[in-house]
Symmetry: C2
């Protein structure tokens, strides 16, 4: 009887494992960035602004982090209150809000990035190199399927290429930043 | 010059890919469950209560979904307002809150689970079986490292075995539920 369930089981299990692995890394990251009085979300927002360049606009940040502009605006609110960001209205168009990192935010980001990097190295580097490359390749395949689901009829190869390019760009910047 | 960056690049890229794959699946799931007027978060909460059995307590739900009791309580609030859950104080201990799924919640959960399953199948099943098993095995290794990081000095093999058991349990229930 149980053998009938096997293929379903593998599919469900893999789906579950992708989410679960993310959840566990997220817990680690909350712990790592918590040392610098940052939540993981706040750290990612600072990283997005650093990547996009200052001043950044909530709509651009939202696109970069894959969240709604509304939820990014709420997070920006809390980070303004925490003294990590400042928000300035654009002089030429008052409807536009520009977001800057404060000196407090800038002071937190450097050691947090360094600690984050040490943690990523600790978790990921023990995997043999061949396994790392295999894992990247297989996750790319899942992403390809997800992208086809989300962007039906679009040029998925093109979307994936752009994604890979902006990912590489971020990696290079992070590595340069970490010296 | 760039070859110096290579190992760092692979490590960072893999870390990024795990989160990115999760994010993309999350976007798909918001779309899938949105058809049933549920957010992905709300669906997972309903699933948790179904799994834990009714009535469920916010602390147990929080442990199951890997979030804080506080954030689960806020989500329960919103779902009570949306008519998906009802909340009843325990008769023997008034401090304890019991959470039940309403008939509206129950009506949504069955087609949402079916649609969710169809989507998971669509995304995951195209991968060759061997790749599926490889991906599961490699993600388990990353989880092992993350678990060692989170639970220093603990019996990681034991924790992983318990995780796998409760995951299997959930899979079996889902498969039985879907008939």
């Amino acid at each position: 009887m149980t053998t009938d369930y096997k293929p379903y089981n593998t599919v469900l299990r893999l789906w579950f494992m992708i989410h679960r692995t993310h959840d566990m890394l997220k817990m680690c990251e909350d712990q790592v960035f918590g040392e610098y009085k940052l939540t993981r979300e706040q750290y990612i927002l600072l990283l997005a602004i650093m990547y996009l360049g200052e001043p950044a606009r909530p709509t651009d940040i939202a696109r970069w982090v894959g969240r709604s502009t509304n939820s990014v605006s709420m997070l920006v609110d809390r980070m303004v209150k925490a003294g990590l960001l400042k928000r300035v209205r654009d002089r030429s168009d008052r409807r536009v809000v520009n977001v800057f990192i404060t000196s407090k935010g800038n002071t937190a980001i450097e050691p947090a990035t360094r600690a984050g990097w040490e943690y990523v190295w600790k978790i990921i580097s023990p995997l043999p190199d061949e396994d790392k490359h295999t894992l990247i390749r297989l996750l790319e395949q899942v992403q390809y399927e997800a992208s086809s689901y989300l962007n039906q009829g679009a040029d998925i190869e093109g979307i994936m290429r752009n994604e890979a390019k902006s990912c590489d760009n971020l990696m290079q910047r992070l590595i340069a930043y970490l010296g």
